[in-house]
């Protein structure tokens, strides 16, 4: 457990720690405080498999009937029928990223008064081409370039009516695609329930080891992918060839596998199975401990980049993936001293996603992948006394891809029209974006997936 960073609010820290640790334990994702919504997917059945076909460790959710042998068959069959299908990647920036730093209204007179210590100056970051009042965060130069190339759609103020300022509740609304605390299926999960395959666990893929609630399904299986490098058997002060010999010896601990005592035999079998799992996964891991995805594009050296590089390789290899979700790097709950951590997080996100886009282009996959970058809310327009910002309402979001329209959707409403809590007002509803994507990208009736789709306008998001 990493130490909580001091600028978090307690709710966020505890929620994050708890979600992470409990999800690792495979016990589903629990509620954090009484009255908070249970994350979608809580209580889904969970089983671990190694896909021999994929050479990957998958944890499959919601497939109690699926036998290990059927896993690879299902993936293989789906790989034929799902060839060339379109993919949506959801990247969540946890904590509520500050929209007024992502696209800083440097040209708005009120901005410097509201943000005396945090405001950017003209020239700090590139000017936003579609609204001269706004300047990109300096860390987002790669996004400015992608926008200029027409590959990045920008939502400067996205949210929903009656914004909730709890991390947990607001995130939940975005995850389930509805303002409903009791909904337990994610919006991408509902899409997969409509179009998905009861045998293909890879159609919905969570890339960071825990089930992203937006992928939680009611009917079809989905899975999480653990990095093959995550299944090591280290020992303090055991190095070199001795370490290799020690790993081999774990297999020998399986010598009692046929012992008449059933529990002793089970413990021995577990040791032997763990060793062979480790060996299978090890084939994908190089001598440097890193996974080899054979990409020609250089990604920034971080976990987020490795996961996206792996995704590009899997799509290239024809894996039947339809929806992907993961959390982006960085902590965006910037209650205090926000400038540094925010700059670091955004830089990693932008550089890595730009590399991912280049990788997809080089592999010839860019026409079938869109990436939605979102956060649970933006932050208060007025900074606080700790050089940070508190929870706000409208946030910023992006849609990346060769097929994205690449224009601004909605508008920046200006700092003279804040809501009663002093927060930026939303000019686009996230449910309208989901509905538009479902219809224009996935070609399905949004009404079957987003409960309020009928009430929502549509935005033109996908190039013909």
């Amino acid at each position: 457990m990493s130490a909580p960073r001091c600028y978090h609010c307690a709710e966020f820290t505890r929620a994050t720690l708890f979600r992470r640790s409990v999800a690792e334990a495979g016990r589903g994702l629990p509620a954090i405080e009484a009255g908070m919504p249970l994350p979608a997917g809580t209580g889904l059945d969970r089983r671990a498999f190694v896909s021999r076909a994929a050479g990957l460790a998958l944890t499959v959710y919601g497939a109690s009937a699926l036998r290990p042998a059927a896993l690879d068959d299902g993936i293989a069959r789906a790989a034929v029928s799902a060839r060339g299908n379109r993919v949506l990647v959801s990247v969540f920036l946890p904590g509520g990223a500050d929209a007024l730093s992502v696209l800083a209204p440097v040209g708005d007179a009120r901005y410097r008064r509201l943000r005396p210590n945090l405001a950017f100056k003209p020239g700090d970051g590139p000017v936003f081409r579609e609204d001269g009042r706004l300047h990109w965060h300096p860390s987002l130069a790669p996004f400015a370039k992608l926008h200029k190339q027409g590959k990045l759609t920008v939502f400067p103020a996205i949210g929903y009516t009656h914004p909730d300022q709890s991390h947990f509740t607001s995130r939940h609304y975005w995850e389930v695609g509805a303002l409903d605390a009791r909904e337990s299926v994610g919006w991408l999960g509902r899409y997969l329930d409509v179009v998905g395959d009861p045998d293909n666990a890879m159609q919905g893929l969570s890339l960071d080891g825990t089930l992203q609630p937006s992928l939680a399904t009611g009917r079809v299986p989905v899975s999480t992918l653990a990095s093959p490098a995550d299944y090591g058997f280290e020992s303090h002060h055991v190095w070199d060839v001795v370490h290799e010999l020690m790993e081999d010896a774990i297999a020998d601990l399986g010598a009692l596998s046929r012992h008449p005592d059933p529990v002793l035999a089970q413990a021995a079998q577990t040791a032997a199975q763990s060793h062979s799992l480790h060996r299978q996964l090890g084939r994908l891991v190089g001598k440097d401990g890193k996974v080899n995805y054979h990409t020609k594009v250089e990604y920034p050296d971080n976990e987020f980049g490795r996961r996206l590089a792996g995704l590009a390789a899997m799509l290239d290899a024809g894996f039947p993936i339809r929806a992907v979700a993961l959390s982006g790097p960085g902590d965006y709950d910037t209650h205090a001293d926000q400038a540094g951590p925010l700059a670091d997080g955004l830089k990693t996100v932008a550089e890595t996603l730009a590399a991912f886009q280049r990788d997809l282009e080089r592999r010839g996959l860019a026409g079938r992948v869109l990436t939605l970058v979102w956060t649970e809310f933006g932050r208060r327009a007025e900074q606080n006394a700790s050089n940070g910002t508190d929870h706000g309402a409208a946030g910023a979001a992006f849609l990346l891809g060769t097929k994205a329209r690449g224009r601004m959707v909605g508008e920046f409403a200006g700092l003279n029209r804040l809501d009663k809590d002093g927060n930026l007002r939303a000019t686009v509803d996230f449910r309208a974006v989901y509905s538009s994507l479902l219809e224009q990208w996935f070609d399905v009736d949004a009404g079957r997936i987003v409960p309020d789709a009928k009430k929502m306008p549509r935005h033109s998001l996908v190039k013909a």
Binding site: L17, R27, P262
Partner: protein
């Protein structure tokens, strides 16, 4: 009916198994001391502990050396209890506390208050060897349980069936054991009347019984009519003919992995009834039973494995790592997966095995010898001696020929490679010793008892 009693020799191996089943494994040499008491003496020592625990060793701290905040900080409740398991001088009391936590499973996931969870834990520790009806009554109106199974705010106008159902299904009678859906509804009515206030920032406070919220009209439970209240709801379950059998089977299953034969089952039920539904004599009889010593082994639950490592090494809790490591191994205290507790058939799989490997590695970290700082460290070069030295480190646990062969093969290969240069000659035997200690801790013999 006489109860079968283990009559074989009660040596260190038997004493060690007893300490694992009724506690958290031996401290260094503890199994030898216990063996000298003989079976009766050992069981009596366990089942008749002093009223106050004597905690042996240094108090627990977090990774920074500060005292724990068990009622506030996430995971510190886990560490707080783990520390009791490590340092207790009343292992059975602590183990029974774990039994009742699983039996009357309550999760802080729902309760949302470490303070209330720890209060429940203190109750289990205090009366966990006494009267079962007394325990069941106290649990029924225990604040954490009232929150967890909706005993709170279950007024007569809208009785909540959650607790009434689990009281019968999981706590006293067993599913399908002589009660009907009507009994569930009637029990829910009998249990009405408890309430508390929710205070923002504090949680549930002022738990109390309000007569005006209680349904005092007639109910029919198990065919018996009366104006039953919560005490009578529990008493009716205890007096139900199916209860002794359920109680004995369930309690037995915590100590012995195969069911008792019919004669043992009947004798234990009789003992339970004749003792006036006391827990202590039934536990004592189970701890005397031949099947505990001659029957198959049991997988150590993750917290038992963890506490056992630290007891064996004489170490204290000094890191929060035990929280996430035990989570990965499948057991975060105060967070059982659901109201039926942990599934102890699922302690061992490829992911929990890796977690146990890491648990052992974490326990070993401070003891590992640096391979390049071996001045004054005497490490044998003979594989046989290396293996024995590593076993002695763990108090020489009994180990099968197969596992010994695996360890010897590893030591042999390392020593065969410990040639060529000065680094290998000096460092490899030390690394072999470090590795052997880790392999022993991960061996089937040490995962089970």
């Amino acid at each position: 009916m006489p109860l079968p009693v283990f009559t074989g020799p009660f040596g260190p191996a038997q004493a060690e198994r007893l300490l694992w089943r009724a506690g958290f494994g031996p401290r260094r040499g503890e199994e030898l001391r216990l063996a000298r008491k003989g079976l009766d003496g050992a069981v009596s020592w366990l089942t008749n502990p002093p009223a106050k625990d004597r905690l042996v060793g240094w108090h627990p701290v977090d990774g920074k050396g500060y005292r724990l905040s068990p009622t506030d900080k996430f995971g510190h409740d886990h560490l707080w209890w783990l520390d009791r398991m490590v340092r207790t001088s009343r292992p059975l009391v602590e183990r029974m506390t774990l039994v009742w936590h699983d039996w009357f499973a309550t999760s802080n996931d729902m309760v949302g208050s470490q303070r209330l969870m720890i209060r429940q834990n203190l109750l289990f520790r205090k009366i966990g060897l006494g009267s079962f009806p007394g325990l069941a009554m106290r649990v029924t109106v225990n604040p954490a349980m009232l929150v967890y199974l909706n005993g709170l705010n279950s007024p007569k106008e809208a009785p909540n069936e959650n607790y009434g159902r689990e009281l019968m299904e999981l706590f006293t009678l067993g599913a399908g054991s002589g009660y009907s859906e009507r009994d569930v509804r009637e029990q829910a009515r009998a249990l009405t009347g408890w309430t508390a206030d929710y205070k923002n920032g504090v949680g549930w406070v002022r738990f109390r019984y309000k007569q005006e919220h209680h349904d005092d009209a007639m109910k029919v439970v198990f065919g018996k009519a009366g104006p039953w209240n919560w005490k009578q709801a529990v008493r009716l379950c205890i007096q139900h003919p199916a209860h002794p059998s359920f109680f004995v089977k369930k309690l037995w299953s915590y100590f012995v992995p195969v069911p008792p034969d019919e004669a043992t089952q009947a004798a234990l039920e009789q003992l339970y009834r004749e003792s006036g539904y006391q827990i202590r004599p039934v536990v004592a009889a189970i701890l005397h039973h031949p099947l505990l010593y001659e029957g198959p082994r049991m997988a150590k639950p993750p917290v038992v494995y963890t506490a056992g490592l630290l007891r064996s090494l004489g170490d204290r809790i000094a890191t929060e790592d035990w929280v996430w490591l035990d989570i990965m191994a499948g057991q975060l205290l105060f967070y059982p997966p659901n109201v039926s507790g942990w599934n102890d058939g699922r302690w061992l799989d490829t992911s929990t095995f890796r977690a146990r490997w890491q648990l052992a590695g974490r326990a070993l970290r401070k003891h590992a010898v640096h391979p390049e700082r071996t001045k004054g460290v005497d490490v044998p070069r003979d594989p046989e001696k290396l293996v024995n030295r590593a076993l002695e480190f763990w108090g020489s646990p009994p180990i099968s020929d197969e596992t010994r062969a695996a360890l010897l093969a590893f030591a042999g290969k390392v020593m065969a490679a410990a040639v060529a240069d000065d680094y290998r000659q000096k460092a490899f035997p030390v690394m072999a010793l470090n590795g052997l200690r880790h392999l022993i801790a991960a061996s089937p013999e040490m995962q089970t008892a």
